[in-house]
């Protein structure tokens, strides 16, 4: 393999990391947004909002990094996937607009706070659904003609993609509820814990459905998961999922505060690994591999230098920002 090929693998891992970081960090923000209507107006909602207000902007930046790095390192994939999921991308962006402005606007316009809260929830749900459907659309395959998207503008819509869309909504809601279990107390926490149990079961059921349906999308997926000797390795993923799921439900019943969120994170990581098993080395299944889509070595190398030095610093100060706002929201008042 040339050094270009090696760099492409590095870049795939970086983008995978950015997407995973986005999914787990903005996932709990969006999840809390979706759970908002179930929280009581007043203290519960304010606490929930405060649990994400200082960090949401940083969380969302990972989405920009994922998109930006995809454009920089794999421009062909970027230029195929985005037009293929056009209405989804637009819906996601508009959803994120409503979600993002609500953080400030709801305090600035008390008379219409209910509207901004509704916009916060609907925006969060729309963004989550669009992202989930996009994931499904990539898995089910994208029509490529002449190095460009060759399908129509609603090709992404299918029962499978709706299933992945709903699944991701459930998963984000689970992340959000377990984050609230960690960060809040009192009635808000108790409420979040009850929700987390239900959402945990629902998410696991949805994961089972998606996992069962994926191998039927294409022979290739079937072979990757079930042929010998692959199955010896791939079988570890569902096994770990079962263990993690058990730990999640147990920790919720036992009244643990942090473990439920961490176990949910682990579930997302395992799902992500599963996705990698299904897709690697394709960015667009059976059409475009990471090597087909790769930008020239000079582009990949130029940005890699920055990533190598800057990403650790980013993680350092992002960690610091989380640490500054550690602990329960609302318990450390100034009075």
């Amino acid at each position: 393999m040339s050094s270009s090929a090696d760099l492409s693998i590095v870049w795939m891992l970086i983008i995978a990391f950015a997407i995973l970081a986005y999914v787990v960090m903005d996932g709990f923000d969006l999840g809390i947004g979706m759970l908002f209507p179930t929280l009581q107006v007043g203290a519960e909602r304010d606490q929930a909002m405060n649990a994400v207000a200082p960090v949401w902007d940083g969380n969302e930046t990972w989405l920009v990094l994922g998109g930006g790095a995809l454009l920089a390192a794999f421009p062909l994939a970027y230029s195929i996937i985005l037009p293929a999921t056009y209405p989804l991308m637009i819906a996601m962006l508009l959803g994120l607009v409503f979600r993002g402005v609500a953080f400030e606007f709801r305090w600035r316009d008390p008379e219409h706070r209910a509207y901004w809260d509704a916009g916060f929830s609907i925006g969060s749900a729309l963004a989550a659904l669009s992202q989930g459907i996009t994931l499904g659309a990539i898995l089910q395959g994208i029509k490529v003609t002449n190095h460009a998207y060759g399908g129509a503008w609603l090709d992404w819509l299918s029962p499978f993609t709706v299933l992945t869309g709903v699944s991701l909504m459930l998963g984000y809601a689970l992340l959000g509820s377990t984050w609230l279990v960690w960060k809040t107390e009192g009635s808000c926490q108790a409420h979040a814990r009850r929700l987390a149990l239900k959402l945990g079961l629902a998410t696991l059921a949805a994961m089972a459905c998606v996992s069962a349906a994926t191998p039927y999308l294409h022979n290739d997926y079937w072979r990757r998961w079930f042929s010998m000797p692959n199955v010896l390795y791939t079988a570890q993923v569902p096994l770990l999922v079962i263990i993690t799921a058990a730990a999640l439900l147990w920790s919720l019943r036992r009244g643990a505060e942090r473990l439920p969120f961490l176990m949910t994170l682990a579930l997302f990581v395992l799902n992500f690994i599963g996705l990698g098993v299904s897709l690697f080395p394709y960015l667009v299944p059976r059409e475009v591999t990471i090597w087909d889509a790769a930008a020239p070595v000079s582009s990949q190398r130029f940005l890699l230098i920055g990533i190598a030095f800057i990403l650790p610093v980013i993680m350092l100060y992002t960690g610091w920002a989380y640490w500054v706002f550690r602990g329960k929201v609302g318990t450390e008042g100034y009075h």
């Binding site: 930006g68 970027y78 230029s79 994120l96 979600r99 402005v101 930008a295 130029f302």
Partner: protein, 471 residues
Amino acid sequence: MAFDALHLARAQFAFTMAFHFVFPAFSIGLSSYLMVLEALWLKTGNALYLHLFKYWIKIFAVAFGMGVVSGIVMAYQFGTNWSAFSNRAGPIIGPLMAYEVLTAFFLEAGFLGVMLFGMPKVGKALHFFATCMVAVGTLISATWIISTNSWMQTPAGFVVNAKGQFVPAGSWLPIVFNPSFPYRLVHTVIASYLTTALVVGAVGAWHLLKDRTNPHARLMFSMAMWMAACVAPVQILAGDQHGLNTLEHQPVKVLAMEGDFDPSPGGAPLVLFGLPSNEDATVHDRIAIPHLGSLILKHDLHGPLPGLKEFARDRWPPVPVVFWSFRIMVGLGLLMLALGLWSLAARARKRLYDSRLLHRAAVLMGPAGFVAVIAGWVTTEVGRQPYTVYGLLRTADSLSPLAAPAVASSLAAFVLVYFTVFGLGAAYLLRMMSRLPTPFEVEPPHIPQRAAGITPAAGIDAPAHRAEAKP
């Protein structure tokens, strides 16, 4: 069909970009202003600076939030609407924009939470550091995105590979520091400072009109007018240099700005007004001053200038748009200069806080920076047409394979959502600005105090309350 999708996509990009640009133009300047206010407060201990800081940081939080959400839209529009451009120019502009994310967006976002909500938690010194990081972040962000934009205007340091992609020829330095980048960067950053100064000045003036003794209003008006008086002349010089650079690298754009269809071997006039027409290749009803155009562009009354007619017509931008947006920008720039000089004169006569006419003028000029920024952006971007990568990749060849109905619906959705959301956001900003800054910059009482540390910007207030309650 492709024709329709092309125009819809261009309309969508222009619409979303025009909305987006307003926010960073404001937040680049405002974050620096906040940094200065906090520094002055820390240095002098004068509480007036702290009050102003608290007042403007709430406005900053709202404006910055709108900038973030409208900016994410831009990051993805390259792929959704301009995928052919993304694929072909991605190896060059992709890394530049990714560097913006890495070095600027994370920095701003990482420290914004601390800046808005963290003063009670981290103390003054670290808080000031966070404020500085946010301000520096906005400047780094401007640097990368303007490098990207400038590369599209004056591409350099590239070769075209077998797949038709623009790829680096060798070093990245000529790409990043492409010929128009330094000029455009200086011109744009100064524009942001000027825009912010005009807004701050207008708010100060508005409150002076109601109460000319108010110390907060006086302080912000005075600071803003110093800024306008110092920066407006610099901006005109920077604009002049930028224009010379454009003449060198994009003569067609400058000729469109000037309305010079015919070559002027003996020196070009300055067309003040007129109705340019691409079809007729002339400026109807024009009013012009002989030789002044050459004086400005060549710094020589008889310097020869080419005319648009010497270039193929399919390389002309829409001349009326470029011609008029340029005049709007320059006209407003001259008014800003006038305001700055007027304030200097009033200050010299110790009438800065008493001249109601000056205050009224400053209020009127409040939005002028935004209008000028958008007009300048229209000039440079429409002036780049019909190309996305100047002279090399046509806009028509940059489009995604999209159906017109898809773009039409998304455009309609953007228009609806942006006017609603950002319209209300602007109303909130105006409402916040219409209040006077007070020594007690508090949140409205409906916000639960126990959560004050992390409700927007209220965290800043908490230690001051405590300090003022204790003495």
